[in-house]
Amino acid sequence: MALDSKIPKGPIKDKWTDYKNHIDLVNPANKRNIDVIIVGTGLAGGSAAATLAELGYNVKAFCFQDSPRRAHSIAAQGGINAAKNYQGDGDSTYRLFYDTVKGGDYRSREANVYRLAEVSANIIDQCVAQGVPFAREYGGLLDNRSFGGVLVSRTFYAAGQTGQQLLLGAYSAMNRQIGRGKIKMYNRHEMLDVVKVDGKARGIITRNLITGEIERHSAHAVVLGTGGYGNVFFLSTNAMGSNVTAAWKAHKRGAYFANPCYTQIHPTCIPVSGDHQSKLTLMSESLRNDGRIWVPKKMEDVEAIRNKTLKPKDIAEEDRDYYLERRYPAFGNLVPRDVASRAAKERCDAGFGVNATGEAVFLDFASAITRYGKEQAHVKGLNENDAALVKKLGQEVVKNKYGNLFQMYEKIVDQDPYNTPMMIYPAVHYTMGGVWVDYNLMTTVPGLYCIGEANFSDHGANRLGASALMQGLADGYFVLPYTIGDYLSNDIRTGPISTETKEFEDAENEVREKLNFFVTNEGQHSVDYFHKKLGKIMWNKVGMSRNVKGLTEAIAEIKELRAQFWKDVKVPGTNEEYNEELAKAGRVADFLELGELFAKDALNREESCGGHFREDSVELDGEQKGEALRDDENFAYVAAWEYKGEPSDAVLHKEQLEFKDIELKQRSYK
Amino acid sequence: MSGILNSSIGRKFAMALSALFLMIFLLQHFAINLLSVFSADTFNEVSHFMGTFWAVQYVMQPVLIFGVIFHFVMGFVLELKNNKARQVSYAKNNGAANSSWMSRNMIWSGLAILAFIVLHFIDFWIPEINTKYIVGDMSGLHNGEFRYFHELVEKFHSPLRVGAYVIAFIFLALHLLHGFNSAFQSVGANNKYTKGMKTFSKVYAIGIPLGFIFIALFHHLTGH
């Protein structure tokens, strides 16, 4: 099947408006007869559920957590971008569009990104009307900050808890519809398959995580807003329950999976402390606005720090290597995430890592504290040369800006970041790849939609800071409600979809069989044993920098691990109870397939772009020597994989990307 | 407005209002008792006025009795409801980590105060009602003199009774240490004055019962 991205004709700035003017609408009376299933209740799923219910559709929403409010969108810290230009610093829809495409290293679809930039301003209006308490200035108007390597201040925020506030906003909109009976909420339910009837997505099979009951649910369309698959690395900043299962089942039912290798490794996370570690904690990127990243210049200092015979703050200024400022003088500490992450890895690989594992660099606030302290002393007419006073005043400013993050760091690491630099290291954070969708956000399965991080979406090969929240809410509040209506307008005479059909029965039986296999298999090793092994392979060979040898090995190793998993996995208990090991087993089984496709995709893409860095595709000389080199001639396409059984049999379909409004350039942050 | 007393917040509010009323009464009671330390005559005069003035006897007294009963009954109702809200208790609970002993034991300090009120009624109120309304002697005289001061002193002869009073007042202090401020929080007052109110409430909660103890001991030690 050839990929049709269904991008509307016409100039980019008119596409979305024209599109909305010409789609088919469903009249309100008919909407009452149409059911929509939404899986996942994060920013994308939650906002979509609320909006579709409000339009009049009957929505059934599913989440595996005990409440929609706990979706992992809640953990997003930094902020949300919107082209409001409240600061009058030259921002515009076009500039947000441009920054997003450039930040994504020219691997996203122009029309989608432009639409995203266009609706971004609406998101802020909407959220404020819903009572989301964004940070404000003393005049009562909204405050902005600059974020993640862009030249304007367009990021709206609520301290370090923006994701939480936006999610609770969407949750409150859902609650209103749940109260009205327009959304039927299924908590602690996990989707285990998509059901297709006559080629169209018409329902899902779920497992009630409390009772183990397998249920059939039907609808006229199915929407997946199930988030990313970063947990394929075992250790990531994702929640423990975040998984690829819904997206992967959709893939197995015919939805193409696009660009799985595009993964964002976030530069500022708390380093791994030992083998017991179950997850990694992100420290907001906003910290890089004030923190300076460095490692010691001299190896003996590195060793002294590891042995705890030297304190980092006692290392003289000239013995510190502020490597981002050195390598990228124009952007310094604010280079995009992929660049910052690789630079940290480069220093640590060279032996300059500053903790026991050798995988950490410093993020230092001392100069920011001094700068702010002097400023405050000046404002208050106090002595700017009183070091103790300046430090105190500066710490107060830093506390106001990042207090919750500093507290979190201190709780985890047991060090006071006001007085000693933080230690950070990159960690898997976000997956730009995902289920392939067209301009309507529909997958290659008719009636099956995919929104938010779960789709391959708008971020190309690398996502800019504060854009994930924007995309999730744009998809759910403002895009999907239009595009799905166009599709559902053909279903006004269909009537209710029966679950008593062969298609549902077959899907349910398949699900039961698999669950049954797990609880009866007499294996040796726990699910986590395999998940950790998979994570190690992924991190070492498909992580921040990739090469042909490593990727080829990874593919073989994952295949072998998968075979071992099916032979030797041990799941205690039964299906008919709350059984977290069983739930995990199903998820890890899917990760073991995805992981291989991921490596295969990385092997196929013989270029470096965004989060995907191939050691064999770098600038060979000149000022940019050693930096990532994109290959637009051969790889300016979306790699969409079709499921054919084993991941190794997956068939590649290419969606050629056309850039009419933005000129392709190599990224430079020098 | 209907059903406000059936809501959790309505009950809290009623509890707080009755508490505030009782605290004002307590202050007045204390002030009059304190007179007995300084001047038997003034104490007698004021006591006689309070005991015979119609507005006190027929308006304030019933209101007070209603307030006391209401506060106790509501306290029990809330306690029962609150117990129902957790039917399985913790195997290990460290309440001291997050709240004061006083706040967690209002029912016990309250019961101690209730027991005291029974004793107090037997000691003073029932004989008083008996003399005035059953026997019909509204004169307040005994052998040609006001009887109030004399009766007061007489009651505090017994070290047992004085001991019981002292213990009851300690419970009252414990009750007030939480209750005073709690009443303000319940009626919705939590603002820039809260800090000052907290200090004042501590002074009141300790000062008033201490004063009562002082009066009891004073008469016990000086009475003949």
Partner: protein
Amino acid sequence: MNLTLKIWRQKNASDKGKMVDYKVNDISPDMSFLEMLDVLNEQLVNNDESPVAFDHDCREGICGMCSLYINGEAHGPDRGITTCQLHMRMFKDGDTITIEPFRATAFPVVKDLIVDRSSFDRIQHAGGFISVNTSGNTIDANAIPVNKHDADKAFEAATCIGCGACVASCKNSSAMLFVGAKVSQFALLPQGQVEATDRVLNMVKQMDEEGFGNCTNTGACEVECPKGISLENIARMNREYLAASIKG
């Protein structure tokens, strides 16, 4: 560190349940409390025993899923954190640690340490929202200026993660801090004032129907709240409720 754990085991909602003792060895002080439980569960699975069920998800203190009552306190002995942020350095080698589910009639136990907190959701369904359509066709965000002080207070109230530690810690199992936080967030913002009367009446009504106890202002909730939500929010709700009762 080597530890003894006394853990509440209960097969399902109808089982009676009991405390069971376990031993875990070689626990690193850098582990989080939940990672320590992971070690126990790995051990149980390897010994063909049933692992201890407990709720957890984000493991960074924001989702509000984890809900353990540890040594007599919600989220354990540390302050301003959830269970996932509690680290084993708070304990000593040889300690015995008691681990129970959050207890309240309105939070029935589902299994072991997992409780059903859907009563919180139902309170939110009753009024935890501002009734605006999500079409995006509202007025410009800056057309509604909000006094910074109020905006900050609203934000502080809004940081509630809905974990239920307030209910678990309260001797009366009262949910007033949770409900007060939501009522306050909207009461402090001009957008929320339009339907303030109905909101507070409906949310309190639902709260009472769910079987939570009455607040007696012990303040335990504020102390144990991972996000430090202030008692001020309860006072504000009391005011809002009383005013609303008189009005409507």
